[in-house]
Symmetry: C2
Subunit: 344 residues, 2 copies
């Protein structure tokens, strides 16, 4: 790229992180089309929801799965593209809502999976940041998350835009109204953790090579996406576990040398983390909490629980960015990765 | 426990690993009941499959999800118990086959999820190693994997028994016939990696703290289960990624200091790993392959691809056991874990 000469490490990621309140505001203001798509989905009365995605978008898919289960009251699962593409499965997809989420809309396995699902009777929806992409064209319903061009390889604004798009799509008529306070809350959330605080935290994690993230419910997606950001930008060995799964095995690898980031926003998911926090306290594990004043706070007031993951990830994006710079890495261009990943 | 005084570290896990050929043989010989359960499921003509599990059993659930998609040609997903238990979702489960897999049959969140699914119209199946457990009693159909008492905290024989039980349940009339050569192949697989070879491998991994496991298709479950075993027994930071997901981000954290274990058994899943192996070779990453002569071989001859995960995990169980002993840890009793995990 021609910008190489003047490139300041992390400048793209930093710029895209701060664009998020505007991206969310734009998506809410222009949400009629998503509202229409949601109405079409409701009219089709699907009985089962399958969501397919890779990488960051797969974390948005996990979020959307909880929305489908809790808000649409439908059984839901994450699709395994390889069942369709590698093994050539061709399941009966009538009454299935099949949603593929992809920033670029160009992942061949997602295009193929969605095409098979549509041929086999599913109502097919593509959620992309690229309305002219092959995935968007392959679907009956295309949702544009309208995040603008994302140039840093580590996705930030397309992730939160995907979360909000899924919430607008899956939570009914009043979804845009419910989301109205979100852009303001996002701006406040970004300001709540000062640069100084971020630097102090980065210093605390300077010699950390392993880190565990944990959450329950909607926030499980936050834990996974934050782990991916830390892996991509700082090459940390970052594990994400649901608070419940953590107790089934992975807990053994945690000791005082492995810091834990727990997402404990107000709500049912955060409440369900209490036994996990108690156990971590017994182990004397250092825990950084997202969603509390003394940890990485978010501006949760007036925001319904299912929208909180859109805020929770923001201080963690900033932390990943800061840790990468501290390690003299460029979070805009992680080694070995490119913006569009071609998996078959 | 009274056995503490005489306990030799790892003796339980070692004994249970070598019991696997007999456990598999017993399950095949006495498979009529599972065959009947499979026939009941087929007669009910479910249209969607949901599978709920935690820990090791969740890896069996991932395996079963591929079976449902590829062999039953049904859309399938892994259930999130917390959607039902934490958020009180109550989705319409008519035409859904809901399978809960649990060694102990005593995980409260699985019992609650299965109960809600059954009340809402699902055909409910419990797959356990405890036919008298509350989970088995809560389900319409109870499948006993008959692995015998498992005393090591790190599950081994219940895992492979769960895999085989799911294959017998999901792959039709001839499933027991197709599985007939498996016990013999399991015994040969356990013998293929000598103790000496295992010691040399353990020496190679002596200073390893981070490791990545990768696979595609059915073998994805092997990668995840092996990662869990390494975390539980040796406290390694072990990540498992599908070969496709690895290319979407996590690849950045891999360099020459992070060994990769790739499951590349013969078949479509192994074939689909070729681009991943090529990329890892470019990065000069040390790769240990499962399923090849020069890596950790398995006795794959005459075994259909969908049964290979039952063999693939065996040398990896042995490796996890060996690594734990090398680190002077007791794989029978990982810190912080107990055999039955109570998650709500």
């Amino acid at each position: 790229m021609s910008a190489t000469v003047d490139h300041v490490p992390g400048e793209l990621m930093a710029a895209e992180i701060v664009q998020q309140p505007d991206v969310l505001a734009g998506l809410i203001t222009g949400s009629e089309k998503i509202g229409e798509a949601g109405a079409r989905i409701a009219a089709a009365r699907p009985r089962f929801v399958l969501i397919a995605a890779r990488g960051t978008s797969d974390n948005a898919a996990l979020y959307a799965k909880y929305l489908a289960e809790v808000r649409m009251q439908l059984p839901a699962g994450l699709a395994s593209p390889s069942a369709l593409t590698v093994y050539g499965a061709s399941p009966d997809m009538r009454d299935v809502l099949f949603v593929a989420i992809s920033q670029s809309g160009r992942s061949p396995d997602l295009i193929d999976s969605l095409t098979v699902a549509r041929q086999r009777g599913a109502l097919s929806v593509a959620v992309t940041n690229a309305p002219d992409s092959p995935l968007a064209h392959a679907a009956e319903i295309a949702v544009d998350v309208r995040a603008g061009a994302e140039r840093a390889v580590a996705a930030t604004k397309t992730y939160t835009a995907e979360l909000l798009a899924m919430a607008l799509l899956f939570t009914g008529d009043r979804a845009a109204h419910v989301a109205a306070p979100l852009p303001e809350a996002a701006a406040r959330t970004l300001a709540l953790t000062s640069d100084e605080r971020l630097e102090r935290l980065a210093a605390r994690f300077r010699s950390t090579e392993r880190i565990v993230l944990t959450a329950r419910g909607y926030s499980h997606s936050t834990a996974r996406e934050a782990a991916l950001k830390l892996m991509e930008t700082s090459y940390l060995s970052a594990h994400a576990f649901s608070g419940a799964d953590l107790l089934h095995g992975p807990l053994a690898m945690i000791d005082r040398s492995v810091p834990v980031i727990a997402i404990t926003s107000p709500g049912k998911g955060g409440d369900a983390m209490r036994p996990v926090l108690e156990l971590l306290a017994e182990l004397d594990t250092p825990v950084l909490r997202v969603g509390t004043e003394d940890g990485l706070p978010i501006a949760a007031e007036g925001i319904v629980e299912h929208l909180l993951p859109i805020l929770e990830i923001m201080p963690l994006q900033r932390l990943a960015w800061r840790l990468a710079l501290d390690r003299r890495l460029d979070p805009d261009r992680p080694r070995g990765l490119s913006k569009v990943t071609q998996t078959l």
